[in-house]
Assembly symmetry: C2
Homo-oligomer: 214 residues x 2
């Protein structure tokens, strides 16, 4: 697969990859070694042509009337997403949300290991959460270097989100996962994924309000 | 505001509402009682015309050269989203993610109160997390009735997500916030908001992989 091909993977396809990945892993546990695009589509509420198009990015060809090799598909998805290698992440902000995300072991299945935390509260510094140590903000550059951090996760209050992003990018971080419900500005070579739980809640609560008024 | 007007609020506008809300609350704390659409746009990385269009749904008119009344805007957003009334939520699945979300106090700012939990693990049942009691799945219908639950939150493993959604909708739940990385099927009158952290991570990790290969 050439670099140009991989660059061309559209975001909606990327976002469906984890669903395929989890589904295929469950199949493999049940010793189902081949699966058709139609079966995948049925089970995941997608249309077969969409699944086939998404699977084209794996460069695997399905066998007629048999389907795709489950194990090879899993490996191809891991390769595409870089999940075959673990990326170290730093959690900045050890409030409830930061603490929660740091305790969650599930991200390791997706190649992400949160290895250390940062918090401005001196009482938290030097302590450990699930074996991961918390440092003060003045240590951020050293921690990023020592732990070979690839992703910075922002879980600080809204007012400190931009400042935190600035600290992370100044220390060389090129990928940020932002859980603070505010837009942050970063240099052009830095990628940011906004995780806006409040926005999802806004959509959900407005729909509930509508239903009540019917 | 008529029902038809409110129904018409587009999802992207709804998703921006929490950012406006947090921003306006911060302004009010600094005793800034009027704000222009241009200032909001600058501070939140939006274009002024977008902000003005979004604010039209509040039915508030900005005063020329003065702007919008901060406090009235906050109240209007709370009203639109139903955040002026608290909705009780039930957390199903008390693994790391469920535990984490239940411990997070921040959702109360957005009108959501997680008041009880469900887990199939007998060792967890009867215990409390942050003062909120955990029940067995056989109690789900009674818990939903007793606690007047409006939103069901799914944080169970992928294989149990559909089953959980079926239990919730059978018990009368019309709104589901799904953190399991799998699509779920629900009756037409039920709204589902998928929160796919794994999908966000897929986009982020693939971009990191691309950068490394440059």
């Amino acid at each position: 697969m050439t670099r140009i091909d991989r660059k061309a993977i559209p975001v909606p396809t990327l976002r469906r990859m984890p669903a395929y990945y989890n589904y295929l892993k469950a199949l493999l546990e049940k010793k189902i070694v081949y699966v058709s695009a139609t079966a995948v589509a049925n089970d995941l509420n997608l249309i077969p042509i969409q699944v086939r198009k998404d699977f084209e990015f794996t460069e695997l060809a399905g066998k007629p009337k048999i389907g795709y090799n489950t194990e090879l598909l899993i490996e191809a998805i891991e390769y595409i997403l870089g999940w075959n290698k673990m990326t170290n992440a730093l959690m900045v902000g050890m409030g409830n949300m930061g603490h929660a995300l740091m305790s969650y072991q599930g991200f390791k299945n997706y190649g992400l290991d949160i290895v250390a935390g940062i918090d401005s509260d001196r009482k938290k510094q030097g302590k450990e959460i699930g074996g991961k140590r918390i440092y003060g903000p003045e240590k951020i550059k050293k921690v990023i270097k020592d732990y070979e951090i690839g992703i910075g996760i922002i879980a600080v209050p809204v007012d400190f989100a931009q400042e935190t992003a600035d600290l992370l990018t100044a220390a060389g971080i090129k990928a940020i996962w932002n859980f603070a419900p505010v837009k942050i500005t970063v240099p052009a070579d830095v990628v940011v994924q906004h995780e806006n739980l409040a926005s999802s809640l806004a959509v959900l609560s407005q729909r509930i309000k509508q239903q009540k008024e019917k």
